[in-house]
Amino acid sequence: MDIEKSTDELVVQMQSITKKFPGVVANDQVDFELRKGEVHALLGENGAGKSTLMNVLAGLYKAESGSITVHGKPANFGSPREAIEAGIGMVHQHFMLVPSQSVTENILLGLDEPRFRMRLTEYNHRVAEMADKYGLHVDPDAKVWQLSVGEQQRVEILKMLYRGADVLIMDEPTAVLAPSEIDELFNTLRSMTDQGKSIVFISHKLHEVMEISDRVTVLQKGKVTSSGLYTKDVSRADLAHLMVGREVVFRVEKKEVQVGDVVLDVKGLEALNDKGIKSLNGVSINVREGEIVGLAGVAGNGQNELAEALVGLREAIEGSVTVNDQDVTNKPVKLGIRHGISLIPADRAKVGTAPNLSVTENVIMKNYDQKPIANGWRVNKKEAGKYATGLKEAYDIIVPTIDTSVRLLSGGNLQKVILAREISSEPKFMVAVQPTRGLDVGAIEGVQKLLLSQRESGAAVLLISEELEELLSLSDRIYVIYEGEIMGEIDDGDIDKIGQMMTGTPLEQIGKEGVN
């Protein structure tokens, strides 16, 4: 490794940073250093601890142990304000701007100057000058709500520069941008480093890291797998491997199941996300009877949109979804339910259940209008109670009574309520999104067993997860999704290939770029 540049001034040095959250070690003895004038990428999967590490640096979190020096001086920031005073500014994924105010007003927000009179024309000039200097083109007088996402991001960057930041932490800055805006952002980043700023670029997208960064540090499950490599010395395959790693895969006991006919058949599915941007682009997948098919991908690559489009919660603008040869594309959710489509939503509390309603009222959510629970116009409370008691016992839901509000349940029990409801409807096709996220080990095992039991009883299961281990141990084959497109399908559990596909290399291109 060449060391010619190592004489460059160290701007930030973080040593053996450890940060714990209840139940997880987000950062485990992490080292990180940033030199003047470089773009240093911080690469890792979701939950690898990238954002946590940078939040520690930016004064949002306090680390349990470890030391930070900024410009050679020890630093321990108690608040983002202190961090910015030391020249460290973070641009978060979610912008913190006031939509109804102008760019300049947003930039001045919270500062001591100007004191009373806003003197906006004067400050507009200053902002415009600064914007010009770094190529961050945005009209200082425009209201934030009128700006595109890319322009809003520039305002956030300007906000930090205006406060005197010379270290900019960009938390997944490209996640919200259109491709042309990404190019523009990269130009801006370059012009900033040319003028002596240093940039931390948090990302899980390999090609972007390869394109923009000088050096790269890779995190995996809170630990550094490689620190400060020169980007030009590594290949994408190396990085993918460092990022995803190769663990001994814990195999759950999986019975042989005769795979039957195709149940779910998706062809060329396209859909928009909530912001109106296309987030599914020609997705074609199928799942057969007695099969668990995994869908791997870093969060936010269209998984939620796919799950919603499959059950009818999101409009498909192109393509088709058929279940057991019934066309259910853009059909009402209820019709899907009648055709045996079932969804375990990613957000248990916000989508999967009604918090203030009882366990009984939550388990009858999908069959309250079916006999025997429905009796004409009436909900038969007795039958509903019997049904809920049955599920409580069968799925071992730990709850004082079936009349208890589900908001009082633990995550594991809440998930059991949802699984009990969904499985008892005997679905032909089930989508499970992140079914074990946030659960403890015992609950995870329980949920996984239930999914396997679905497979054994001949249902088709699509398992959407960010946990590669889980996907590998449960799935019969795995699709990988990246930016709304299926990168390929794997049935031998080749984790390196999955890793590369997760970061944007289509299966057919893997191995073509040469081995480093």
């Binding site: 919660l313 959710v333 969804l343 916000k350 918090p355 309603l357 209008d369 909900v379 004082p400 009349d403």
Partner: protein, 377 residues
């Protein structure tokens, strides 16, 4: 969590109790909700008493007066019921909407449109002058409900289709409704230049208890009218719908978590429109029964803000249709006999205080307050 301690000089005395506020981790007991409602009323009355006392009055005398002239005899009790009837119906109208977290504060306007619809039956006329009473009862109630429902449908549709905030639209439509009525009483149906329509003929009036006085002299002079049947029947039906029916389950599910409802395949838009229609129809029925049972003509001042009082009643009853009946009688008494104390001030003040304490009492519903003896450390 709050620690309250009082510091004193030697010997060091410490406030011996610790007050801790924590989130409830279990379902609150069943009795808590009515007890909190009652407490809100009691505290409001106490503060009212304080105000009367400061103003130099005798609170005890004022309250006994209110009680006597609202509940003290069959005659005044009957008058209290007359006040309570429109309150019950608007209280129900608010309850069903609020159950779905649809903030219909347009019951006032729906009430006016209901009154208009019922008047139309007599004044247009829809029914001939000498049509039998039962026809007037049914047709005027039907017209009142239809026009109230129409006034509920508009904001419901706007919310479902264009996501227009129903708080604003229902509130604004109140003014339109009142002006709409004014147009008719100043112009179209004005009786020789007065701002009111002609008096309805007697066979269009809702029957009153006093109509039975010929057979049972006991009912002589009692003004309670047939609207009470509308109100009680509506409360029973609504109670059944909300707690027993499939539709009621859908309303509660949407009210608690619209995203979960959508995921269960329940159409939120359809239900927004339906609930607003039913809510408007109930408020419209209130207007119709007030016109046909009490006022007997279309005029300007037909509501002392019934539609807004309905909001307080719905909350006081914790959106339970049966409790709405009781809450309405309480407010009916307050409105009727309160006038004896002061035409506006104190009784309205008490109403407002009840609302404030009701909202505040929600804190105790969600949190548990523990008072423990401090342990010396």
């Amino acid at each position: 969590m709050a620690d309250i301690s009082v510091k004193e000089s030697a010997p060091k005395w410490k406030f011996p109790f610790k007050i801790k506020i924590e989130n409830r981790v279990d379902n609150p007991p069943r009795w808590l909700s009515p007890v909190l409602s009652l407490a809100a009323v009691v505290i409001a009355l106490l503060i009212g008493a304080l105000v009367i006392w400061i103003a130099g009055g005798d609170p005890w005398a004022a309250y006994t007066h209110i009680a006597k002239y609202s509940l003290g005899s069959w005659g005044v009790l009957s008058d209290t019921m007359v006040k309570a009837i429109p309150l019950m119906l608007v209280g129900l109208a608010c309850s069903i909407a609020f159950r779905m977290k649809l903030w219909n504060i347009g019951a006032e306007g729906q009430f006016f449109l209901g009154a208009f619809g019922a008047s139309m039956v007599v004044l247009l006329p829809v029914l001939p002058m000498e049509a039998p009473k039962w026809q007037f009862i049914l047709v005027s109630a039907g017209f009142g409900m239809f026009f109230g429902a129409l006034w509920g449908f508009v904001p419901g549709f706007l919310k479902a289709r264009y996501n227009v905030n129903e708080i604003i639209s229902t509130l604004m439509m109140n003014y339109i409704a009142i002006e709409w009525n004014n147009y008719f009483i100043y112009g179209v149906w004005s009786e020789s230049g007065f701002q009111m329509s002609r008096m309805f003929q007697r066979n269009a009036w809702l029957p009153r208890l006093s109509d039975l006085a010929k057979r049972w002299p006991f009912f002589g002079g009692l003004t309670t009218h047939f609207g009470i049947v509308f109100a009680v029947v509506a409360a029973l039906i609504l109670w059944w719908v909300l707690s027993k029916s499939r539709w009621g389950y859908e309303i509660r599910l949407i009210g608690d978590n619209p995203r979960a409802a959508e995921y269960a395949g329940i159409s939120i838009k359809k239900n927004i429109v339906l609930v607003m229609i039913v809510s408007g129809a109930l408020a419209g029925l209130a207007g119709a029964s007030e016109i046909m049972g009490v006022v007997h003509r279309l005029q300007g001042a037909i509501s002392p803000g019934y539609g807004y009082t309905g909001i307080i009643i719905a909350w006081l009853a914790k959106l339970n249709p049966l409790a709405v009946i009781l809450a309405s009688i309480l407010f009916g008494a307050l409105i009727l006999a309160g006038r004896e104390v002061q035409p506006s001030g104190i009784p309205t003040l008490i109403q407002g205080l009840i609302m404030v304490f009701l909202i505040a009492s929600d804190f105790f519903y969600r949190n548990r307050v523990r008072i423990t003896r401090k342990v010396e450390d």
